[in-house]
């Protein structure tokens, strides 16, 4: 177990160095940050001075070495635009993104499990079949368009929900959360459903497929032959085994949710880190982009690790290698 964790830890370091190098080179080509920062009337001398001040006059390899040295001390640079340490800047935005992603995950799981199970247990009923067609429609809806429709219908026409922003927040341990106030929940509902709808449709299909597979196995027939009630067979015997791959996918998809939240955040003006990324790309704020992608990479690797570990906990047949 320890050896396994150590191996994974080295893997993380390796991924981080790779990601930072690629992003560094890529962002080097993406435009001139100095030109965006200074007014268009700035003279060449002013541009040069600014460049020297930011250390951008040095060769790329030297810049990267300085970056790595600072990164080892937990300093990923200072945002050109916000004049704040990027780590602080991103961590400030992280709770909003996490809140949104967790809420949409919760939404999709709560609805996907019963619907998926129903569709597997009664595959021929009209309700299940329309649910399955509905799930195909669900994976065909682009996130950004659902968001726009939500704003239009519930925000503008019906005026039920606030179309933009995060609403009132409450601070717990210095972090602002929306879900603790009624106003915050109202603001959270639409973005969370928008982000979670694709997830919901996909999970319904997955739960149904896994349940169908398990319900065909011999041990289910045995359980039925023993005279167990259908409810007991479904929930106690079948569901537990069907959930193993479902848990994995839910875990792996969480990283995707965090990444995809950048579209939802842009539409609903949700002040998370995805919106920060899109704004920073537009302003060639290189340190923010590099740091964002490194943090996302860490999140992804950590999620993968947690999923692998839970996997072995749920299913003792799988050994760690």
């Amino acid at each position: 177990m320890l050896k396994y964790l150590a191996k994974r830890f080295f893997h993380i370091i390796f991924v981080l160095i790779g990601v930072s190098l690629i992003v560094f080179v890529v962002m080097y080509k993406a435009g001139d940050p100095v030109r965006v920062m200074l007014p268009p009337t700035a003279t060449r001398l002013e541009l040069e001075a600014m460049r020297r001040q930011l250390g951008l006059d040095k060769p790329l390899i030297v810049q990267y070495a300085i970056f790595l040295k600072n990164a080892a001390h937990g300093n990923l640079g200072i945002s050109y635009h916000h004049s704040l340490p990027v780590v602080k800047l991103i961590l400030q935005r992280l709770p909003a993104t996490l809140e949104l992603s967790l809420a949409s995950m919760l939404f999709s799981v709560i609805f996907a499990l019963p619907i998926g199970i129903l569709a597997a247990v009664r595959p021929y009923s009209r309700v299940s079949q329309s649910l399955m067609v509905g799930s195909i429609l669900g994976i065909s809806l682009p996130t950004f368009w659902i968001g726009i429709m939500g704003i239009l219908i519930f925000g503008v026409w019906l005026n039920w929900l606030p179309p933009f922003g995060r609403g009132e927040t409450v601070a717990i341990a210095g972090i602002q959360w929306s879900w603790l106030t009624v106003d915050g929940l109202k603001h959270l509902l639409m973005p969370a459903v928008t982000l979670g709808l694709y997830q919901l449709a996909m999970l319904i299909r997955l739960v149904r497929a896994e349940m169908c597979d398990v319900l065909q196995t011999a041990y289910i027939s045995v359980a039925r032959a023993k005279g167990l009630s259908e409810a007991r067979v479904t929930f106690k015997h079948a569901l537990r085994n069907a959930l193993i791959p479902v848990v994995t996918i839910i875990g792996l998809q969480f990283g995707g949710l965090i990444a995809f939240s950048l579209i939802t955040e842009t539409i609903f003006q949700w002040p998370g880190m995805g919106k920060l990324l899109i704004d920073s790309i537009a302003m060639v704020d290189r340190p923010v982009v590099v740091a964002y992608l490194m943090i996302i990479a860490v999140v992804f690797v950590v999620i993968n690790l947690v999923v692998d570990i839970t996997y072995t906990l749920i299913d003792p047949r799988i050994r760690m290698q």
Binding site: V15, G18, V19, V23, V26, K29, A30, P123, V133, I136, L137, I139, S140, L141, P142, T143, F144, W145, I148, M149, I151, L152, V156, A209, C212, Q216, G255, G256, A259, F260, L262, I263, T266, I267, L277, I278, I281, V289, L293, I296, A297, F300, V301, N304
Partner: protein, 307 residues
């Protein structure tokens, strides 16, 4: 599977028929866009700024262009009817959708085709020859798959700037992995089979074995992936275009049309973003319906319960 059997199954599946009919309608509309569309949305001579933001004609709240006297004097033509309304520049939304679908489908199909080509080639070679080449290709695939493709595509488009070629290349860069992975998997299973050994014993060269003997046997996963891929590539392209990191504004795809509409949605001009969105959902839905049927039919391991 015999051909008549396949057809019979097709007709029995309502969803597949609906998907096929929808898709046929879309392809027809796209092919004859220039004949069906009331105007050429890119011909500036056919667009009048006075027609800006007209609601759909069936809402019957046509606002007259200019003042009434202007119309009476013939200085400004009377407000024309637009089936699905008009956008800010006075462009017919219906015509823009027809031309936008063409661009969305073009990007979707060509990017999928190219990533299939590259992915299949790499998957076949990696799976057949194994060794260091296999390790390198699959490591690359692993790293790439551990990162959401939308992020990589956004970064690439940020450097390259928007453009048709750029968006196609960016999609290929992020999507070839899907093919390479699956094809390598199928190849690993196939290469141990006896017919491969037999072909080798008869003196067939490796490329000949791969292309003539193995490839035909793994064609069904390729078909199934391709259907799903076209749908997700169209979604990816529209998302990028929505963010302004996709097709150029001179060649607006459905995603970009939705973005144009979103900018004015709070002013009450909802039709500019709603209708292109419906068109986009229709395309993706039709392809997904067909893809779902293909997966159930061509993959004997899945979907036995449904038939």
């Amino acid at each position: 599977m015999a051909q008549p059997e396949l057809l019979r199954r097709f007709w029995r599946s309502k969803t597949a028929v609906v998907g096929a009919v929808l898709m046929a309608g879309i392809v027809f509309a796209v092919m004859f866009a220039s004949l069906i569309a009331p105007q050429n949305p890119y011909d500036l001579r056919q667009i009048y700024l006075e027609d800006s933001c007209q609601p759909p004609v069936w809402l019957k709240t046509l606002k007259p262009a200019g003042t009434t006297e202007d119309v009476e004097q013939g200085a400004i033509p009377e407000a024309r009817g637009f089936i699905l309304g008009s956008d800010e520049d006075g462009r017919d939304v219906f015509s823009a959708i027809l031309y936008g679908m063409r661009i969305s489908l073009f990007v979707g199909v060509s990017a999928t085709f190219l990533s299939a080509l590259i992915g299949i080639f790499l998957g076949l070679t990696a799976g057949y020859y194994r060794g260091r080449l296999d390790t390198v290709i699959m490591r690359l695939a692993d790293v790439q798959l551990s990162f959401p493709s939308i992020l990589i595509a956004i970064l690439l488009m940020a450097i390259w700037g928007s453009g048709l070629l750029q968006i196609i290349v960016a999609v290929v860069v992020v999507r070839w992995v899907v093919y390479a992975r699956t094809i390598r998997g199928s190849m690993l299973a196939e290469r141990e089979k006896e017919y491969v050994l037999a072909a080798r014993a008869l003196g067939a060269s490796s490329p000949a074995i791969i292309v003539r003997h193995i490839l035909p046997n793994i064609i069904s996963p390729i078909i199934v992936i391709s259907a799903v891929e076209i749908a997700s590539v169209i979604m990816l392209e529209s998302t990028l275009s929505y963010l302004g990191l996709g097709v150029p504004p001179t060649k607006p795809s459905l995603g970009m049309l939705i973005k144009f509409g979103y900018d004015v949605i709070l002013s009450g001009y909802w039709w500019i973003s709603v209708f292109p969105g419906i068109a986009l959902v229709m395309i993706v839905f039709a392809i997904n319906l067909l893809g779902d049927w293909l997966r159930d039919t061509l993959n004997p391991n899945l979907g036995q319960m449904v038939q």
